[in-house]
Amino acid sequence: MFKSVIYKEWIKTRWFIILLTLIAILAVGNIFLTVQHNMSFKEASNYWYQILFQNSHYFSYLKFVPLIIALALASSQYIPEITDKRIKLTFHLPLRENRILIMMLAYGTASLLISYSLVFLIFLGLSNQFFAAEIVKLAIISVIPWFLAGFAAYFMAGLIILEAIWKYRIAYFIIAAAFLLLFFETGLAGSYEPINLKLTLITLLSSISLLFSAYRFRKGEM
């Protein structure tokens, strides 16, 4: 049954996740083309200087990439479920409702994890090519919240899309937007160091959010 659930999620989302991951990889490629360009045109040591002491973020291009992937995935996965209230079919499958939802969630989370890992590892590998460990470390600390924001956005989008009443959808959206802002505070490279673990924890907790709106749907709030 797990295989069947995954099969359906895959049919819904495959093109979105593959295409956006490819675009994200291109974005990373673009970042390092720019880096390479700057290294040769500005002189490498001056470029490093800007990064180390003038708060120039070579990776800032990556900022909303995980978020966009997550929103596309969530939309492609959940909007077909609420179209014509097809989620009813899903709840009629011979499985516990929460189990199906968690399987769907697990599929989405795993897809994001794979997609993000690819993007992140390429980013990390190329960063290590061009920069010393200190610069890479600050970059990682800075991009981690953006990837976390992607997961959080995916979880929140599930909650919002599966909610059937518009009034609540809007309220959730406001809360979710304020929540996501926590991940995008601007600051020095590496300034998120003390909060990253806390944000990871909150993001993990938020993962089961959609159970709430799905439950409301099942109990007749539509």
């Binding site: 295989k3 069947s4 819904k12 499985l95």
Partner: protein
Amino acid sequence: MNTVIECNNLTHYYGKKMVYEDLNFSVGEGRILGLLGKNGAGKTTTINILHGFLQPRSGEALIFGENSQRLSPHTKSRIGFLLEGHIQYAFMDIHQIEKFYSGFYPDWDSKPYWELMSKLKVTARQKISSMSCGQRSQVALGLILAQNPDLLILDDFSMGLDPGYRRLFIDYLRNYSKAGNKTIFATSHIIQDMERLIDDVLIMDYNRVLTQTPVDEFMRTFKQFNFETERSGIDLSKEEFVVNVDTIENNIELYSYDTEDNIRKFLDKKGIAFKNFREVKMGLEDAFIGLTGKY
């Protein structure tokens, strides 16, 4: 005979507005029951409660002895649900959707599904979303037949279908039920269709159940009598044996469970002169209107 669906004292309100209070009915194994009612009489509410998508204010709906709010996976596998409008995962093609569903049901039998699919003029990679309403209904039906459930809950199965497809659908369902002693609970807008399909009829009006009987018994006992009175303005609607009456000047259409003899006697006794007294043959739709009124 085992009871498959049992509703006990079902009560529901939307906010302050009552849908019904203390609704009771049951459906026995192997029976095909049609739920009839006007719009707003609580058909959808009942279907939603049976589907588990609505928690009644009080009372319970039991399916195979389990509360419909908390059906076990095993029980769910014994129920085939057909959603209003033959909703399916329209982003799949017919191969994908068969592959998808087959993973959930151990007794999956794809033969009837492919039999139905072979009659459809669709391509193998055609998404269900691009099919016609009739074709989609055949996909939904094929999936249910392949699932081979013991109980079918069908919400307005005739919606959007051509007469031909409707007939096809009904014939398949009736055949399926009678061959395997399967229970069917169905609603439909088009009552004529029901007549061909159902064994029992459950007619709801606002807030209450008007009747639940086998269709043939209902058709045998519920009658329409037309006659003309000499005087106009005779009001029979308060009489006990009268279920419904339509009076247009001297012409009276009277619906009753009583016999022709008794009614004639009553009219004589009351000194109401009448002529052209005759029983009118009704179809299920006429009987439904007779029972629930035109308004």
